[in-house]
Amino acid sequence: MSEKPKISTMDRVNVGLAARYRKERRFKLFGLAAIAASLLFLVLLLGSIVAKGYTAFRQTEILLDIHFDPLVLDVNNLATANYAALVRDGVFALFPQVEGRQDKRILGKLVSTGAAYQLQDMVMNKPELIGPPKPIWVLADDEVDMFVKGHISRDVPESERRVSDQEAAWIDQLVAAGRLALKFNTTFFQAGDSREPELAGIRGAVMGSFFTLVVTLALSFPIGVAAAVYLEEFAPQNRWTDLIEVNINNLAAIPSIVFGLLGLAVFLNFMNLPRSASLVGGLVLTLMTLPTIIIASRASLKSVPPSIREAALGVGASKMQTIAHHVLPLAMPGMMTGAIIGMARALGETAPLLMIGMVAFIVDVPTGFSDPATVLPVQIYLWADSPERAFVERTSAAIMVLLLLLLAMNAAAVFLRNKFERRW
């Protein structure tokens, strides 16, 4: 019997093996390429924001010798003194050679209009400053700031830039004398909005976001958890609960502007709550985040094994005791993760707030829930639309702050999950 060479399964496998390995490598490569592409976009996005925005954390300041003249400043009437004149005299003292009304007017504009209010605050808080001249750092005008940071180029003809050759020469003199320096921009974190870029800050928007999120969390978390517990643990399975479930899932996918329109109709027009208040913003965002929280809470309730409930019932616990003592604590990490992710989405929302008047210019930092307020993403939008060039870097800086807050919230969600999560 002549033996035909038998092709074993192994041989057949071996023949195709190289091709299969190639295919697998290609498959893996596609995945890697996808990750690389998304990372590249992320780096580009973050890179351009950071590159544009990092300069905003430093602000040009000018050292003036301010003479708090007791003849000008009446201790009993400090609020009405002419602080602008003190600032102007301080600037003129640095350049005694400058004469003529027009030149002096331009010279006075090197310093921010906010400098006078800065001095006023200083003197009102510390009247003992009144006396001999003291060196004081005051904010420079935003155009000086842009020039020093190189956002206004020296190379273009004088008529085309907003800093003239004369002003540039003065700035150079100040730098040479060590009277002009970039300092950490505290105003950016301490002030509300302003039309002068050097005086504009994000504190108003951050506080507005804070109040709005407090309302959102305080309402949406308890309501969301209670709804999830009822639907998951008590509700009978019938057409009504099915209908509710479909609606909740549906609401989670509705564009947020719709909630804004609803808020306008119900909270403002019907309930007469104040326009532009963080309370109303919080109510609208509550509506928006509720479905997210209910869905996340139901999922985490579902993941608690039935054996826990059965054991509790078996040793004589009531249904309520079972839920309150055993099921809820075990489901809580998942619920909180859902809540934080919902909050993070609410923090980045602008569209629904447009309808209830929170897209507005608000200078005073809000101190309560019914004060007019705006939120961080709205502040970013408003600055992005401002003509002054110095707002470009401030827009990017505000985006960086918003991204940091979002990162912190998402990190908290991950931390909570890892710390409290139980696996079975």
């Binding site: 007017r105 209009t113 209010y117 206004i152 180029s153 273009v156 008529s159 085309e160 830039r161 907003r162 302003s194 039309r195 002068e196 407090v214 309302v215 969390l217 305080a218 309402l219 978390f221 308890p222 958890v225 007469n272 709550l273 104040p274 326009r275 532009s276 208040a277 309370l279 309150a324 809820l328 604590p329 809580m332 008047g357 897209v359 507005a360 210019f361 608000i362 200078v363 005073d364 309560g368 829930f369 019914s370 007019p372 408003l382 992005a384 639309d385 401002s386 003509p387 002054e388 060039r389 470009v392």
Partner: protein, 352 residues
């Protein structure tokens, strides 16, 4: 965990009650709505006002002129805005809508002028356009280049096709969308004005007025005019990136970016402070704000806010509003307007 839930529940109750009590109080700040063109000037005044007086800084929403009037006219109570900004005069229909809701005493204040410019990157040569050129470059239907009375879909691809003295560059204009007041004003002052100069279109005015309006005001949709959104900064950035394109936006953005972009001459006039102020530059419009007279006295600070806005240090030639790009009115007009504002002279409804 239970404690946490309890605390949260308690907190929510607290918030609800605190808010309910606060909401009952009256308003102690001025509420302003309206045009996004007036917004940068109104906010500058509001900030100065807040800093230099004992009153709170007014709250200003940028809702657009039409949206502003809608809110302003929605009622006479103190829960409605006190002031609305507008980049055009109030319309008859809006006065009627106001009157229907009990707002009958309206004070009109004209604050100055805003120029609309066409500009391109400094890297490209400056364009010298006439309003006729702009109409031919941007209208959807134009008179046939071969002559005759026929209107044809806009055949012009390059600026040179429109006018032999212009460069042979593709027509690419970035401008505001139809919802914008800037676009309305541009269409009215440039397109409407120019289209009456063409005999075949002018003939339409007597025969078919509807068609006449449509021809004059419809902007082409074949990609030569690109709606770039309401953000003028974005348009400036795009002009810088693409020197072949031309943008349409407000004067203050030209003023701030003079090192990157240049305005085109329109009908031989440069778009600068002086030519807009003395009315030579053809594409400029007045800006206004409107005040509810009934709210003066009810909401603290309205009269003082008017005084600040109409003061020389604000809207004067050397004032801080000029710094922000507002073109001031002539001195005597300012004086008359300031007096009107001080006396709270209401607009008379039979003016319409």
């Amino acid at each position: 965990m239970q404690k946490l839930a309890l605390t949260l529940a308690a907190a929510s109750l607290l918030v609800a009650t605190a808010a309910a009590t606060q909401a009952a109080d009256g308003r102690d700040y001025i509420s302003i709505v309206g045009s996004s063109t007036v917004y940068p000037f109104s906010t500058a005044v509001a900030e100065q006002f807040g800093k230099s007086t004992k009153f709170k800084t007014p709250k200003i929403e940028s809702t657009g002129t039409g949206g502003g009037f809608k809110l302003f006219c929605s009622g006479a109570g103190v829960d409605t805005p006190d002031i609305t900004n507008a980049s055009r005069p109030i319309k008859k229909t809006e006065v009627e809508a106001c009157a229907k809701n009990g707002v009958t005493q309206i004070v009109e204040v004209k604050v100055g002028y805003d120029g609309i410019v066409m500009a391109n990157s400094k890297k490209a040569p400056q364009l010298k356009l006439s309003r006729k050129d702009i109409f031919l470059a941007l209208a959807k239907e134009v008179p046939s280049p071969e002559g005759g009375d026929k209107l044809v879909a806009n055949p012009y691809k390059t600026w040179k096709d429109v006018n032999a003295s212009l460069p042979a560059e593709k027509i690419e204009v970035l401008g505001p969308p139809p919802t914008s007041g800037t676009r309305d004003a541009f269409v009215e002052m440039v397109m409407d004005h120019a289209c009456a100069e063409f005999a075949p279109i002018k003939a339409l005015k007597t025969t078919d007025e509807k068609k006449f309006k449509a021809v004059c005001q419809t902007v082409r949709e074949d990609g030569a005019y690109i709606e770039a959104g309401e953000n003028d900064n974005l348009i400036v950035q795009k002009l810088e990136a693409n020197p072949k394109s031309v943008g349409i936006f407000g004067f203050s953005f030209l003023d701030q970016n003079g090192d990157k972009i240049q305005a085109s001459l329109i009908d031989g006039q440069a778009a600068d402070f002086k030519s807009i102020a003395d009315g030579k530059y053809p594409v400029s419009r007045p800006l206004f704000f409107y005040v509810k007279k009934d709210h003066v006295g009810k909401i603290p600070g309205i009269a003082e806010f008017l005084a600040e806005f109409t003061s020389d240090r604000a809207w004067g030639e050397q004032g801080y509003l000029a710094e922000k790009g507002l073109i001031p009115m002539p001195k005597n007009e300012q004086k008359a307007m300031a007096a009107d504002a001080k006396a709270l002279n209401v607009i008379v409804s039979n003016k319409f």
